[in-house]
């Protein structure tokens, strides 16, 4: 105790002091300024202090929620065991590489044939800069990250029913939409038609801003010329010496651009969760769960366990399970407490001794359909031919997008492209197909934008999340009404068990949600343990 009186003030103490003196709003601001508060409520590395009195915890599921809980509980001195359905840890934090087998329900089996060094992330694929719990773990667990290109001005936006089905470059759509709308707004501003909304002084500045922002000429018009080419690109790029002169490009007509709906492809990168800089782990998303596994004792996670029942009483929890592949005799695991991260789609089928509020909450959740496909190409034609380095092409076709690898630029002969990432009706439809049928759709859709798909496609692998045996869907689907009704009950400790996972978070479908959900759950559990 004496030692602590002379210890340098740490961040936690500083924040607490600020909070006590000036109120929580000021404290939050201080934490934000020092980079510790974020949208997820994460306030820094977890410290579960106090005597846990030899308490034991069984964690169900070794996805990111379960791994986070296991790591922090273990570090706090709990006796931890983890039961995982699959033969490996990670859950939806997953990458597929050459040699991996994807087993979908119904006996649909795919053997991934990617060359060594390539992968596809069929679950989460990108990390926002403000998902700081996840980023902190990547740093602590030595998981190197690299940027994930979310916007590429040279990628395509495609509507099969517009411009004869010919895709346009992002930069053309972006510049023309910005230019045309700026011109319109400048026109009405200059004509004084906005005098109800804009003061004369502001109107002068607004005109200046629109001229700069919209690449407008001295007449406040968005017109073919050097200035506009410098935004949307050229027909012939500038060269050197006596080679050639640049040729300016012609903007799209505004009406055609609007009706084409290509502007919908401009929206994603502006939203908070898709703003640059985004990240991905070097070498595959599953490097994150691998980092957690490295940090845990080797025998902590038991694999191939299919949970069949959960009982609890005043003393603890008893989890029944069978071999996930072979079935057979029922085994049990007992502990004082349970952190249950099994997806709700499965939990609603597992008999558990829980109260009605939690049961109703679990039963209220279905999961969204999701579909992704990775395709290996014989050469990096999107770079060599199209000069698209990373980034995303959007399309109205069922595959919804093509995402080019944000890594190994121009360094490998071959490469893997994400050829599909879709939800809703098309995800149901693609999930309902066999792997072969799906790949045909993926190639057909890709070829409508990039003819190179036909000759350069080598092999591919797909995941329809409702056919994945350990999730029965992609992520929990909350309505606002259901969240108001059942979310708190889903998260509340029930006896000796607490749920955690992306479904028990306000960041559904994000890995950050799984992690902060687990941190919050074990914090509450820990409070009970030390208070007892």
């Amino acid at each position: 105790m004496t030692e602590q009186n002379f210890a340098p003030m740490n961040r936690r103490s500083l924040f607490r002091m600020i909070g006590m003196a000036a109120g929580s709003a000021v404290m939050y601001q201080a934490m934000t300024d020092l980079g510790y508060a974020g949208e997820s409520g994460y306030t820094g590395p977890t410290k579960l202090s106090g005597d846990v009195k030899g308490a034991s915890v069984v964690v169900l599921g070794a996805g990111l929620a379960g791994l986070t809980a296991a790591l922090e509980l273990h570090n706090a001195g709990y006796k931890v065991q983890v039961l995982e359905y699959q033969h490996k840890a990670g859950g939806r934090n997953i990458s597929i590489r050459g040699g991996d087998t994807v087993n979908e329900l119904g006996g649909f089996k795919q053997q991934c044939q990617f060359d060594s060094g390539f992968y596809v992330n069929p679950g989460p694929m990108r990390i926002p800069y403000h998902h700081i719990a996840l980023l902190d773990y990547c740093k602590r667990l030595n998981v190197p990250l690299e940027p994930f290109s979310i916007i590429n001005y040279n990628a395509m936006i495609h509507n099969s029913k517009a411009f004869g089905g010919k895709a346009k470059r992002y930069r053309e759509v972006e510049s023309d939409f910005r230019g045309h709308t700026s011109e319109l707004l400048a026109k009405v501003t200059a004509q004084g038609k906005l005098d109800q909304s804009v003061t004369k002084e502001d109107a002068e500045v607004l005109l200046q801003a629109l001229r700069a922002y919209g690449a407008l000429d001295r007449n406040y018009e968005y017109k073919k010329g050097a200035l506009v080419s410098n935004h949307r690109g050229y027909d012939v790029d500038p060269g050197g010496g006596l080679s050639w002169q640049p040729t300016d490009s012609e903007p799209m007509a505004m009406s055609e651009l609007l009706q084409s709906r290509l502007w919908t492809g401009l929206l994603t990168g502006h939203e908070y969760e898709y703003q640059m800089t985004m990240f991905q782990p070097v070498g595959g998303m599953d490097m994150i769960s691998a980092g957690f596994v490295r940090a845990l004792p080797q025998d902590m996670v038991k694999y191939n366990c299919k949970v069949t029942e959960v009982k609890q009483d005043a003393n603890g929890v008893t989890v029944s399970y069978i071999d996930a592949q072979k079935g057979g005799a029922v085994q049990t695991a007992t502990a004082n407490w349970c952190v249950n991260t099994i997806p709700a789609t499965i939990l609603s089928q597992v008999p558990m001794q829980i109260g009605a509020p939690l049961k109703n909450a679990i039963n209220s959740l279905a999961y969204s359909a999701g579909f992704k496909a990775g395709v290996q190409m014989k050469r990096r034609w999107w770079e060599d031919d199209e000069r698209i380095y990373g980034g995303i092409t959007y399309t109205d076709q069922p595959v919804a997008l093509i995402s080019y690898p944000s890594t190994q630029f121009m360094q490998t002969q071959k490469g893997v492209v994400l050829g599909a990432y879709t939800f809703g009706p098309h995800a149901f439809e693609l999930t309902s197909m066999s792997p072969e049928e799906r790949m045909k759709v993926v190639v057909d859709c890709g070829a409508a934008i990039h003819p190179q798909y036909r000759t350069e496609f080598e092999n591919g692998v797909s995941v329809g999340w409702h056919r994945i045996p350990w999730t029965l869907g992609c992520f929990a689907q909350w309505s606002e009404a259901n969240r108001a009704k059942n979310y708190d009950a889903l998260c509340a400790i029930d006896g000796r068990m607490v749920l955690a996972g992306e479904h028990a978070s306000h960041l559904g479908a994000w890995q950050e949600g799984a992690i902060v959900s687990a941190l919050d759950a074990i914090k509450r559990l820990h409070q009970r343990v030390v208070a007892a």
Binding site: R126, Q349, L401, G424, P469, W470
Partner: protein, 135 residues
Amino acid sequence: MKSAFVVRVLGSALLLGLSVSSGAYAQGAGAGGGRGGFTEQGGEAIFKNVCQGCHMPDARGAVGAGMYPALAKNPKLEVAGYPVSVIVNGQKAMPALGGMFSDQQVADVTNYIRTHFGNNYKDKVTPADVKATRP
């Protein structure tokens, strides 16, 4: 009819990289089905493009960490109102698909399932029956 399911799907889609607009954009403006809905017509097409993703092409369901029930020879299909209600309103892991289907589509796929896969129920579901189950 405002689709609660569409709102949920697109709301979730917002979180995973599709703006609301590009979500609708990505679904396309196909004939029928409406925004965010299924465009398949007829029970067979609906079953093969939607239902069999979970219930499997032979309607025998599947077992993993959890299970999808078989629709083949399923006695719960005897009272037609039950499958109609499950399709429209969902039940546990089965999503509520009512917002993505018209009354006609739900009727068609219910009638298809109840007369195939070893099921042989004679009574038919009408769109009016489906409408009655909607919230």
